[in-house]
Assembly symmetry: C2
Homo-oligomer: 206 residues x 2
């Protein structure tokens, strides 16, 4: 693309560095900002700068937070013996939305992925093992996605925790509530049969 | 969505104000920035701020430009008697890419659209009429999209220019080069038959 303005070209270039945003979309977004009052652009860039400069990670669970210890970790209502291991803040938000979980979280910041150059030291695994060593945790729930990377990460952490008196579990995989059996993929349907639960248990969950 | 951080919530909100970007996408983009070096965010917000504050519109054609008079308007190689009326900078870029046009442009900044509250005074039509009054323009080419709004705008400008010795034309509508007739829509195919050109003319175009 040939731009008539260096300023425009630069803005489009920076915008197109965001994931999933190509040059054309970037141009559309930037032209939109130009049509809006100047204040809109100031607010956007200030919000991004502020976030990047002032953001903290909770020193206990490593979730994104404005303060040293996040709301969940500092809440007296939370069960401190239960820790759910997740990949990032989106997973925390998804689980919090269910209102079904009252324990704490541990945000890894990613999954082990040799292909992308992410090893265990890039994640917050050492901090998790440290927390386990200090005691107080009874159960660790693995809630990573069930991909090769997720499974590898689960297994790596599982191995690191050998010798500690902590039980581990993973979230249940199965047919989504309301889904038809005939449209489910075989792996999910297979797992949901293997990991079937007593009927009384399923009554309790509702 | 419940955010664990006001800074994050604010950044996601501002991001989601961009067209076509929902809350989920905004969160993904913002989290991506958080994983990147701080400098990336600074560069993005500086580029946007700079663009919004320093951008100029060419005083002749109203295209986006870094200087008072854009490259095209100040080029001695351009035919000043020919003016192509377009909606915005993207159209200028598209036509420039063809290398087939050697005249000047006039960027309207939109189309007349009562539904969106855009009247003639929101566009640069007065400036176009002023240019026509000054003389020197022989032909005006309408290159707006052939929608109701585009046609209305064309006609409005056409009416404003009555009495001036300026010929007007619109870009040709027809079957795209390389397209099969059977897949073309009827309106386009109909127009391409009505507006057929002498065979010798089509040879010249290649």
């Amino acid at each position: 693309m040939d731009f008539s303005s260096k300023l425009l070209e630069n803005a489009v270039y920076e915008m197109s560095q965001l994931p999933g945003i190509g040059k054309r979309t970037a141009l559309r977004l930037v032209l939109h900002l130009l049509k809006q009052p100047e204040e809109r652009t100031s607010r956007l860039s200030a919000a991004l700068e502020n976030l990047r400069k002032k953001i903290k990670l909770c020193k206990n669970c490593h979730n994104i937070s404005d303060v040293e210890l996040c709301e969940i970790c500092s809440s007296p209502k939370r069960d401190r013996t239960l820790v759910c291991v997740v990949e990032d803040i989106r997973d925390v938000m998804a689980i919090e939305n269910t209102s079904q979980y009252k324990g704490l979280y541990h945000v890894l910041g990613g999954k082990i992925s040799p292909m992308e150059g992410i090893g265990p030291q890039e994640l917050t695994i050492t901090s998790l093992v440290e927390k386990a060593r200090k005691g107080g945790i009874k159960e660790l729930i693995f809630a990573l996605s069930s991909t090769m990377e997720g499974d590898t990460t689960n297994f790596y952490i599982y191995k690191q925790l050998e010798g500690f008196d902590i039980s581990t579990s993973t979230i249940a995989r199965g047919i989504s509530v309301g889904d038809e059996l005939e449209y489910a993929d075989e792996v999910t349907l297979g797992r949901s049969i293997l990991n079937r639960i007593p009927f009384e248990g399923s009554l309790k969950a509702n």
